[in-house]
């Protein structure tokens, strides 16, 4: 992204304060890999801070800069200097997928000789520094069909590295093969046994296990949309605005991008209306509305759009259905087993008083 584009995007957003009434803001830098452009990002962040101050904007001192990084450049002087400068307003997540064999399945260097080289070794060495600077740092793991055999070992490995919160979810795309749900369920059951038998639940959390999932939902009371598309604003390197990066051309397989404006013309609010009135009922099949284990079953608006039979964001993709149901079965097992153990040990009340439930992470 050229600096001028970034500047104009900031100028537009800050000049339209009445359109962005939220109390706080997260300026999220998404690449590719954001830390490859740390000089530009540093300049952008400095400009944001001075402009929010100069304009007496309500976001001044109520903002965060967020990064999802592959971690390779985390230790470099420039990145470290940036972290030092902005530490109190930073959220940084390093994406490490688990064990070396799991991580290196998908995260491979480009153009290094003829042999493929994974990035695990170079990422893992930066984890201690990251956790020293951000002790509550969490990671985000995405599971596709080929990743299923490595779920248990990967979550436990991440715990062993000191990462206390592992946010993990299945991809929303229709990639699932026959029996994937059974293999997934077995992995989660094994993971549940390990977490409980080794008392890992006391200090660590994995988002696959949540007490709130797997219940029916009353459509009259719980009709809200899952996804935040349209309630955020994404800007690309050309200065086009999107309801989420998933609606940019590079993210879509089969559909035209949904561009809701640009830095010169501003936001076309008519194009945002469908996103802002989306609800669960209008986009879901009857089987989803009536599903006995509906709670926690997530969707991605971009994938819904991409997979829809017509050009609409109002057709919910159900590719993830069998994986959600498998997760619910394993989740039920986890909580039944954990609570029985706690009861036998006389620790249930103490656990319930202190427990925290992970907020569902999506995308």
């Amino acid at each position: 992204m050229p600096w001028e584009i970034a500047k104009q995007a900031i100028d537009y957003i800050l000049a339209h304060e009445s359109d962005f009434k939220e109390e706080s803001v997260i300026w999220d830098f998404i690449g590719g890999e954001p830390f490859l452009e740390i000089d530009l990002i540093d300049k952008i962040c400095d400009y944001l801070k001075t402009e929010m101050y100069r304009l007496n904007h309500h976001w001044f001192n109520s903002y965060r800069f967020a990064f999802s990084t592959n971690g390779l450049n985390y230790h470099t002087n420039k990145v470290q200097k940036f972290i030092e400068k902005n530490h109190n307003h930073l959220s940084i997540g390093i994406t490490i997928d688990g064990t070396k064999r799991k991580h290196d399945l998908n995260r491979i260097y480009k153009n290094i000789g003829t042999e493929e080289k994974g990035s695990y070794e170079d990422v893992v060495k930066n984890i201690p520094l990251w956790l020293e600077q951000f002790p509550m740092g969490s990671t985000k793991v995405t599971i596709s069909s080929a990743d299923i055999p490595y779920i248990k070992e990967s979550v436990l490995h991440l715990y062993s590295l000191g990462i206390k919160e592992v946010n993990i979810n299945c991809v929303f795309e229709d990639v699932w093969k026959d029996e994937d749900d059974k293999r997934f369920e077995e992995q989660l059951l094994d993971l549940a046994d390990s977490i409980i038998e080794n008392n890992l639940y006391e200090d660590y959390a994995c988002s696959f296990f949540s007490e709130t999932i797997g219940k029916p939902l009353d459509i009259s009371l719980e009709n809200q949309n899952w996804c935040g598309a349209g309630r955020m604003l994404a800007v690309d390197a050309k200065g086009n605005f999107y309801p989420c990066t998933r609606f940019a051309a590079y993210s879509l397989r089969a559909k035209r991008p949904i561009i809701i404006g640009d830095i010169k013309k501003g936001i076309n609010k008519n194009l945002l209306r469908p996103f802002l009135v989306l609800d669960r009922f209008t986009q879901s099949k009857k089987e989803c509305i009536n599903c006995e284990v509906a709670s926690g079953c997530a969707w991605c608006q971009g994938e819904n759009y991409d997979a829809a039979e017509t050009s609409t964001i109002y057709q919910r993709s159900t590719a993830i259905c069998k994986m959600h149901k498998a997760r619910v079965r394993a989740n039920n097992y986890y909580w039944n087993k954990l609570y029985r153990k706690l009861e036998l040990e006389g620790k249930r009340e103490e656990f319930e008083a202190n427990k925290k439930d992970l907020k569902p992470e999506i995308c």
Partner: protein, 310 residues
């Protein structure tokens, strides 16, 4: 549930709604397609509406058409059941058939005074504004004044025992539920190419947007999205006279079930003007006693009220 079946007899068939027909070259529906279309309508128990071009059809077409109960939507008054006017040619209008006047906002704002005489003559006038999506805040204010003036005209006529219908003002008074265009839900269109479309505008806009064809039948994907219950804004709205134009929805918001801000505000200005008209006529005596009062509301776009129903 489908009730109406619109058959565009020619590529140059007159537009009677928001979308402009820019097709200049005649392409008459093949006679065999017309026969199959009529048979489809009969088998599905649909009321057929033929939309005519501005030239005389060959005799054999008229013979086929007359074999089934139907309505004729025409740009010529001759034997029409609905007359379409694309220009403000308001003299010599027939008094016994509904008239559709397609107009730009500019012409409407400049010439609305001419409508009093029309309303004095015809039983029903449908005014279709062809550039609703271009309305600005100033236009909304002007439209409000225009509706108020038309309302005064109608009030005078009603007090003098005439009861012409003007869609912009009298429909809402007489309705007790949504009554929208129904494209893709209560009606579909057969085009001269033998394919089905959600409405004529979808054909005129992009011929590849078909929803099946006369040989293989209807194939409406995501058909629920054309239904009122699946329109999050509309199902919380009581501007029941609104056209809820599916084509304009898609054009302006990219979704067939979501109206634009402009469409909503225009419909609410009409709704509120209808409310005032109903109240004013009732000052003279009993009028539409079975109809409830139209409620006072504090918004012009239900989207702005969404926090109350989300």
């Amino acid at each position: 549930m489908l009730q109406y079946f619109i058959i565009l007899l020619d590529d140059t068939s007159a537009s009677y709604c928001h979308c402009e027909n820019t097709k200049m070259e005649r392409r008459l529906m093949p006679l065999e397609t017309l026969r199959k279309g009529i048979r489809f309508g009969m088998m599905e128990n649909l009321m057929i509406q033929f939309v005519y071009p501005d030239y005389e059809l060959p005799t054999e077409y008229n013979e086929v058409i007359e074999k089934i109960d139907h309505s004729k939507i025409k740009p010529l008054a001759d034997a029409a059941d609905v007359l379409i006017l694309n220009k403000w040619q308001l003299s010599d209008l027939p008094n016994d058939i509904p008239v559709v006047l397609r107009t730009s906002k500019k012409d409407l704002f400049a010439r609305y005074n001419e409508l009093e005489e029309v309303l004095n003559k015809v039983e029903r006038l449908n005014v279709v504004i062809t550039d609703v999506e271009t309305f600005t805040e100033d236009d909304f204010n002007t439209y409000k004044l225009v509706l108020s003036a038309l309302s005064s005209n109608l009030e005078r006529l009603y007090v003098n025992d005439k009861s012409p219908q003007l869609n912009l003002l009298t429909d809402r008074m007489m309705l007790s539920q949504m009554n929208n265009c129904g494209a893709g839900d209560t009606n579909i269109t057969l085009a001269p190419n033998g394919k089905f479309y959600v409405c004529p505008a979808f054909y005129l806009d992009e011929e590849t947007d078909s929803i099946g064809d006369i040989e293989h039948g209807l194939n409406i994907k995501n058909e629920q999205l054309y239904k009122f219950d699946y329109a999050p804004i509309c199902r919380h709205c009581d501007a029941w006279q609104c056209k809820r134009c599916i084509w304009l929805n898609r054009k302006n918001t990219l979704e067939v079930n979501t109206p634009s801000h402009e469409q909503c505000v225009v419909a609410h200005l009409e709704r509120n003007a209808s409310k005032a008209l109903l109240e004013n006529i009732r000052k003279y005596g009993t009028f539409l006693p079975e109809q409830e009062d139209i409620k006072e509301i504090d918004y012009l776009d239900p989207f702005d009220n969404k926090d109350k129903w989300q």
